[in-house]
Every structure is written in structure tokens, then in C-alpha cells.
Amino acid sequence: MNAETMPAVDPTLVPPDPPKGVNGVQLVLTTVVLAARQIRRHLMRSFLTILGIIIGVSSVVTMVTLGNGAAQAAREQVSALGANILQIRPGQGFGRGGGGPQPPDFKPEDVEAIGRQIAGVKAVAPQAQSSGIAVYNAANWSTTINGTTRQYFTAQNWFPAQGRIFSGAEEQAGKAVCVIGSTVVANLFRDTDPIGKRFRLRDLSCEVIGVLTTRGQGGFGNDQDDVVLMPIKAVQRRFTGSRDIRNIMVAVDDGVDTAGVQSAIEDLLRERRKLGPNEDNDFNVFDTKQISDTVTGIYSLVTSIVTGVAAISLLVGGIGIMNIMLVSVTERTREIGIRLAIGAVGREVLMQFLVEAVVLSCLGGLIGLVLAAVAVAVIAPFMQVPVLFDPKINLLAFLFSAAMGVIFGFFPAWRAAQLNPIDALRHE
């Protein structure tokens, strides 16, 4: 027998083995079971907790998605006017009411001057518009008549699919030749080849020399292919009865600053229209891109205001969660005390609450996203806007709500778990 020999000891008297760690996998499994039980047991509290998240997420996502759709629709409408295009019209200011005398229209010389004197201009096309009934054999069709020049085709980058555009001589002479859109072909000529045919437009007999490529619907829902293009002089002489031009379209060269061209045109026209230095412009030069930017800007402003309101509702939802959690904190503090006394380590209790909060808030977030999708699908057709699924905002709202639930759900539990088990049990 040596000193190492132990005396007989009670075999149950093993040294306390506790001070070992807690198995991680087991910890997760245990806490998931506990969290699931807790949620099931407190259905009303769980529902109230996620209600705020549901409302917050669904309103934010709905607003942003609809707002994006509306902005997109507006952009499309404006960009249908053409890229790098300036429109020049007589009148004072965009949308300013017409008081006083009507400012004069433009003259053909103005058009020539712009083409000649302004650098960076790709094409200048005057437009004289009218409308009337076209008749061919037994068919008749009411359409838009657009008197312009050869430059119109360049400016619009829109050329005949069949036939040709009018020649310089035809344009100069104001001959009754026309290039027609595909809608007019379909309604007037049906299956007949229209090239070279003559039809009657109001009281004018007009020869078809070209058929334009199909462009489809314009931004405002108008049919761009429902048009008859003629030399401007023919339209002025036969339909409008004056040499005045209501609208000039200027296409700017690629890579040239439209703003520079715009102000050059303004200076030129002020001079030509003999405006004094203190007089306002009595005409407008619109940049379609500017209009597009303005409209888009208005939409994104509205969208951000509405989104801000929705974000506040998400925040209010979060505060609601916190309230419910704080109301139940007494009950939960006792619960934590019981668990700690029974031998749960702080980590396990916290993990349970964390899992519970994560499960609840993710559930709320998901329900919110589904609700938003339904709301968008229902509302978008009424607003006539396209549905643009934006993964970023969906993800963001979801993560935000989850974070909200976790922060507000977890924080009170975290505080309680710092307590002594005895104090937690005694908590009133």
C-alpha cells in the first residue's frame, strides 16, 4: 500500500463534474424546442408582437414598389417623346395660364436660322399639325396629319419600312405626297400594297410614297403609327392656311450638351423675336430629358415621403413590440429566474429568447412581404403602373423588421438574464 492508495469511498461521491462547458449543438436544439413551445403557449402575445412588423413591412414594401412603378411609367411616357430632343413652342412658361395676347408663332425663317446658326444641331424639323378623314375606295379613317420636312425623319430616327421619304424638290414645292404610319395602312388599305396609290385626305388627293416602320404606343397611350406625314408646305397651304409654325423639333447631336444648345436657341430666338433685355421669353424650349427628370424627381419625392411615413409605421411597430415585451417582462423575468434556478446557464436562457425573437420577427417579416405582394398586385392595375419587384427593398424591410424584433424582443430578456436567479424569481 502506498500513499497513492485511496481509502474506500462512497462510489456516488464523485467530485462535482459541473465546471465543464455546455454542448453547442445540444444548446441550439434545446432552445429551439423551448422557443417553439413558448410561442405556441403565448399565441396572443406572439401575434401582437408580429402585428407591428407585418404592418410596417407590408406598408413600406407596398409604397416603395408602387412608387417605383409610377416613376417608371412616368419616365417611359416622357422618354417616348424622344431622346436628345428639344421642343420649341410659343407661349410663356411651362403650364403658366394664358393671360394677355397670344405670342406669335414661328416663321420658316426661324427654322432655317436655327439649322444654320446653332452648332451641335443634328436636325431641325418644323411641324404643322392638323387632322382629317382619309378615304380610299370604300374605307375611311380619321387620322393625324403632320406637316414637316425631311429632317423630321432624322430627328425622330424614324424611317420608312417600304418606299421612300419625300425628296427636297417635293418638300420645296409642297407636293401632295405622303408617308403613312402602319395603322393608317391597316385601316385604309387593308391587304393592298399602298405604295403609289392615291387616297383622299379631306379635299386633297395624296400619293403614298412610303410606309413607316411600326412604333407602337406612345407614352401617353396614343398610337404613334396613326399618322400621315406630308411636306409642311402642303399642309400649310391646304389645311392650316398660314405659314406659321406652332412647333419646332430640334435633335441635338450625340455627345453635345443639350443645355448649351438650348440656351443658344433661346438667345437666337430672343433676338429674332426682338425681345428687350427686360422682357421674358415668349416661347419655350423644352428638353425632353429635363421633363423626364422633373417628373421622375416629383415621383421619387412623393415616394420618399410616403416611404418615410411607412418607415415610421415600421418604427411604431417596433415600439409596439417593445411595449408588449415590457408588459410581459415581469412574467418573463420570473420565468428566467425559474430556468436559472433549475440549472440553465445564462447563455441558454438568452439563446432561447433570441431564437424566439428571431423566429417571431422573421415570421412577421415574411407575412408582411406576402401581404405587400398581394397589395401591390391588387393596387397596381388601378394606378395603371407596372409592378416592379425590387429585391433590395424587400430584403431591407425584412432585415429591418427582423432586427427590430430581435432588439426589442431580446433586450428585456438580456437584462433579466443578468439578474441573480433569486432576484429574478422575486421580481414583481
Binding site: P7, D17, P18, H42, I338, G343, I422
Partner: protein
């Protein structure tokens, strides 16, 4: 960690023949500075394995404070606390929790069951933290409920149980892990005398037949009469220890 870390063998040698619990000069001070209050002023106490100890004394004499320290729910301000020959006063929070999980069971005056939770799930709770599989949890929990005579009530929530029944569920929860020590602070404080006697008989049975060491605080001499050892507290000190009591043993 000191005791457990210093190697099991020497500790076992040292613990041979020692009491299950040994307190030496335990003090407890609440608060700081002028507001500080000395709740325990140096408590020495040995508790042998298998004993049934009743702790008595006037209100505020430090009974609960001592129980909380014995239960590793609270730490003493000074002194030594050996459990199975190992220093416990130096363990950290998590180690104390694991020690409670492994060796201790608690019964409180206010029952402290989880609300909206069935008796069975309440009793299963400590097993969950031990990582027992579901089937075994159920078996053990049903066994414990059977022991306290509530097998038929397993699917009732605390709200559907009487005070006596709730306390018996709490006892089932405390013994389901086969602890070395059952600590009960005024377990009959909220019960009428008939229900109290039932609980005491249950504790006596667990002490006698399952070999669980029972530590119980009580104000009532009738309840203390079930114990083998009675410890009297006064002003944060042990005034007297009566050994070999149990007038009611076998009653």
C-alpha cells in the same frame, strides 16, 4: 474552479468521511457603505449526506440567505463553502448553474411553476437542460409525477391545480434529476395544515427511500418535527443545533 481544477484524486481523498456540505465562517453583506447590512455574521454548519434538516428562526435571522447560498443561487461575502469536499464559493456563474443542474433541486414557497405550461412540461424542464432525449424526458417526468401522486394530472396547467398539487408538481420537478440535495424554503408557507402535512410526508419519504438530503426552512414547529436535525438561527448566526430529532419519524 480551484477545487475542481486541482485534480479529482486529492479532492476525493480529502473528502472521504467529510460531510456533504460544510460551511465555515460564512458571511453575507447586502448593500454598500452606510446602507450595508450584515445578514450573516459567520455561519459554521455541517450537513451529513441523507440528513433531513429543518432551519428555524425569527424573521430576518438569515434563513433564506443561508439557503440561497447553500443552493448556489447566491454567493457568500466571505467564508468557505465545501460541497462534497469541493470549494464552491469560488465557482463562477455558469459553474454554479451546472452544479445546480447536476446536484440540486429547489422547492419554493411560491411554487414558481411556468404558467400556461402543463405539469409534465414543467417537470421535464430540468431534463431539457440536461439534454435528455424527448422519450426519456417523458418517462422520467411521468415517474416523478407518479412519485408525488399526480400522474393523472400530467396535462394540467398550474392554473388548473390546487396549491398543494402545484407544490407537489414543483417537488416532482426538483427530484426528477435525482439530486443529492433538495432545498425547500418554506415549502408549506402557502398551504393549509392538512396540505402541509401531505407535503412533509412526501419529503420524508423522498429523504428516507430515495436518499435525498433535504434542507428545509420553516416557521412551524409541527413541520420542523419531521426533520432529523433542526438548526436555529438568530441575528445572522446559528444559535443552536438539535440533532437526532424526528418525533414524527415513522408516523
Amino acid at each position: 474552479m480551484a477545487a475542481a481544477g486541482s485534480g479529482g484524486r486529492a479532492a476525493i481523498v480529502a473528502s472521504a468521511g467529510q460531510p456533504l456540505i460544510r460551511l465555515r465562517g460564512i458571511t453575507k453583506r447586502y448593500g454598500e457603505g452606510a446602507a450595508a447590512f450584515q445578514a450573516l455574521k459567520g455561519v459554521d454548519l455541517d450537513i451529513q449526506r441523507g440528513d433531513f434538516v429543518a432551519v428555524m428562526g425569527p424573521s430576518g435571522s438569515g434563513k433564506s440567505t443561508t439557503m440561497n447560498i447553500l443552493g448556489c443561487l447566491d454567493v457568500p461575502s466571505g467564508g468557505e463553502f465545501l460541497f462534497r469536499g469541493h470549494h464552491v464559493e469560488t465557482l463562477d456563474r455558469d459553474q454554479r448553474a451546472l452544479l445546480r443542474r447536476r446536484y440540486l433541486g429547489f422547492v419554493f414557497q411560491g411554487f414558481n411553476l411556468l404558467s400556461r405550461t402543463t405539469a409534465l412540461e414543467n417537470v421535464e424542464l430540468p431534463l431539457l437542460y440536461r439534454g435528455e432525449p424527448a422519450k426519456r424526458r417523458r418517462e422520467l417526468a411521468m415517474g416523478a409525477l407518479d412519485k408525488v401522486g399526480l400522474k393523472e394530472w400530467w396535462d394540467h396547467t398550474p392554473a388548473e391545480l390546487s396549491g398543494g398539487q402545484q407544490q407537489r408538481v414543483a417537488i416532482a420537478r426538483a427530484i426528477v434529476t435525482h439530486p443529492d440535495v433538495l432545498l425547500a424554503d418554506e415549502p408549506t408557507g402557502n398551504l393549509d395544515s392538512e396540505r402541509s402535512v401531505e407535503i412533509m410526508e412526501l419529503l420524508t419519504d423522498l429523504n428516507g427511500n430515495s436518499g435525498i438530503t433535504v434542507l428545509m426552512v420553516t416557521h412551524e414547529p409541527d413541520m420542523a418535527a419531521f426533520a432529523r436535525t433542526v438548526v436555529h438561527f438568530k441575528d445572522g448566526l446559528i444559535e443552536r443545533i438539535d440533532h437526532g430529532m424526528r418525533a414524527k419519524a415513522g408516523a
